[in-house]
């Protein structure tokens, strides 16, 4: 861990908005600029879940800009159940040795000891992930203390900005991992966009109230409204299975995508991985996407949204829609109603 990051001087620093500072210290590692910069260099790319060296090589050859080292892909975690934890370090090392692109790994929410271990292993980014079993029902990891950058999931602007205030250098939509159904990722991407537009439309006085409703620091909300986007890189994740899914989310304005079970749970992983990697760059060209989508074999089988009802607690006690409008229309929201958010 870096002593510098721990001093807390590294609040959110946005690209091209900060001045050069600090003359004396020569080499500074773990600064927020360097952590957020890592995510900035992943933009326009696809990050693939892999469970061994062979899959990691397939992802690298396909053109992935990073891989996520896992023991089980989300679809298997869903099916098999049980407590899902950090991946065996041996497996992570095997994957790190197989490829030259960045390797990420997941820690349970709030499990800072797992995160410390992942940092010691030298992974390039840590995903504090809801795909694994939650380790701390009340708190997320204080990510400012780490040299390694973190990516965190979010379903709305409030969650995204809270994670950023805890030090996340990158945000991804939560989506519904392991289902092959993109509906939740779309909902989360659209929700974040809509709430940013609402913030942009507010005058400075109204923003204070909106910050309270979203339960976020006013400075971060102000910065978001000013920039008209999240102040860090934002990827889509959860249920993305085809080149068309990639295009859909990219057109909704995300900076890149994560693909979990979508590749290695399909019938032709190599071909699909390659097509999806190309789709991130060609997302705006339907004719190219048509070619890329051709003859990819079967996509992952998937569990559609309407068959999942009751399978697990979905969005906490109140629905997503209500939550947004309650926050937006200044209706009274009391504390503790969000599910570990």
């Amino acid at each position: 861990m870096s002593g510098l990051a721990a001093t807390g001087e590294s609040d959110v620093v946005v690209t091209n908005l900060t001045a050069v500072k600090d003359e004396n210290v020569s080499r500074k590692t773990g600064t927020f600029k360097v952590k957020a910069g890592m995510a900035q260099m992943a933009k326009g790319g696809i990050i693939m879940d892999v469970t061994n060296a062979e899959e990691a090589r397939i992802a690298e050859e396909a053109g992935a800009c990073a891989v996520m080292a896992l023991e089980r892909v989300p679809a298997d975690i869903r099916r098999q159940g049980g407590v899902a934890r950090m991946t065996d370090p041996l497996k992570i090392k095997e994957i790190m040795n197989a490829v030259t692109i960045p390797v990420m790994a997941k820690t349970r929410i709030g499990h800072f000891a797992e995160a410390q271990i992942l940092e010691a292993l030298g992974v390039d980014m840590v995903d504090e992930s809801e795909v694994l079993t939650v380790a701390d029902e009340d708190n997320h990891i204080d990510k400012h203390k780490f040299t390694v950058p973190f990516v965190c999931g979010a379903r709305d602007l409030g969650e995204a900005l809270r994670r950023i205030s805890e030090g996340a250098a990158m945000i991804r939509t939560k989506g519904e991992a392991g289902t092959g159904d993109v509906a939740e990722a779309v909902r989360h991407a659209r929700t974040i966009n809509r709430q940013i537009r609402i913030a942009e439309a507010m005058d400075p006085t109204e923003l204070y109230e909106y910050a309270k409703k979203l339960r976020v620091p006013i400075e971060l909300l102000r910065k978001t409204a000013e920039m008209g986007r999240l102040p860090v890189v934002n990827f889509a994740a959860g249920g993305i299975a085809t080149p068309a899914d990639v295009s859909l989310l990219m057109q909704l304005g995300v900076d890149g995508v994560f693909v979990g079970s979508g590749i290695f749970k399909s019938s032709c992983p190599k071909k699909r991985a390659r097509a999806m990697a190309q789709a991130v760059t060609h997302y705006n060209e339907p004719a190219v996407l048509a070619q890329l989508s051709e003859d990819l074999g079967e996509a992952m089988f998937g569990i559609p949204h309407n068959e999942r009802q009751g399978e697990r607690r979905r969005e906490g006690p109140i629905g997503e829609e209500m939550k947004i409008w309650n926050a937006t229309l200044n209706m009274c929201i009391t504390s503790n109603i969000y599910w570990h958010s």
Binding site: T15, N16, V34, G37, M41, K43, A98, I101, T281
Partner: protein, 226 residues
């Protein structure tokens, strides 16, 4: 007569390309250039046109960019375009790797590159992301000093960055090094120029300091005059 315009292409395959767009436009404004700057995105071979005066290859993953370039048959048009000395090319971080004629620590089986600079580059020279850092680099070329003739430094942002480990031709000029404290070590080379090609291992587009973007625009402007 309306002001002429300068077209700068940015290779938008993957990586930090929008930051360059912002920084170039800011730099052009600061320089008060009389030509209008137009920024075009380069995503396919047809986008690499003689109408472009400059091209930026941004930071990102060199393997991702290289594979995309070869799969979309862009390599030969890029190489041809870059070799024309009227065309100014700048690669940052992964872009520097793409432009190097030799690269160490490539992925298994090697990776497709563009080439152009007579240098040997080592990928991830400083280590993994936890070793990424900010440090002042020492500028060797006085046209990059913030005030004329005052030796100067630039806040280098190095993210899983490469470094130039060897220069293989006298045509290559070193523009910046990471200064080491001991005098017998000349420092790690982190920015070079070979005629019309510029390469930096760090990311000026992630800072407020526009000197490198201005330098690049001035390279373009000086070719236009000739």
């Amino acid at each position: 007569m309306e002001a002429s315009s300068i077209r700068v292409g940015i290779l938008e395959i993957q990586g930090g390309f929008s930051e360059h767009r912002t920084a170039i436009l800011k730099a052009a404004e600061t320089l008060g250039m009389k030509e209008k700057i137009e920024i075009l995105s380069v995503r396919k071979a047809a986008d690499i046109s003689p109408a472009l005066s400059g091209l930026i290859i941004p930071g990102g993953e060199s393997t991702t960019m290289g594979l995309f370039i070869s799969r979309n048959n862009m390599a030969s048009s890029l190489q041809e375009w870059i070799q024309d000395e009227k065309h100014i090319t700048w690669g940052t971080c992964a872009g520097l790797i793409m432009l190097a004629n030799e690269t160490e620590k490539q992925k298994i089986g090697g990776q497709p590159l563009i080439g152009g600079l007579d240098i040997v580059v080592s990928r991830n020279y400083f280590g993994r992301q936890v070793n990424s850092f900010q440090e002042k680099v020492k500028i060797m070329d006085k046209s990059l000093f913030s005030e004329a003739n005052i030796p100067d430094h630039f806040e280098g942002v190095f993210i899983r960055a490469p470094a130039v480990v060897k220069v293989t031709s006298p045509k290559v000029t070193t523009l910046a090094v990471l200064s080491q404290s001991c005098s017998d070590n000349p420092g790690v080379i982190v920015a070079v120029r070979q005629k019309n090609i510029l390469g930096t291992a760090f990311h000026p587009e992630l800072t407020e300091d526009l000197r490198w973007h201005s330098y690049f625009l001035k390279m373009i402007a000086s070719v236009q005059v000739d």
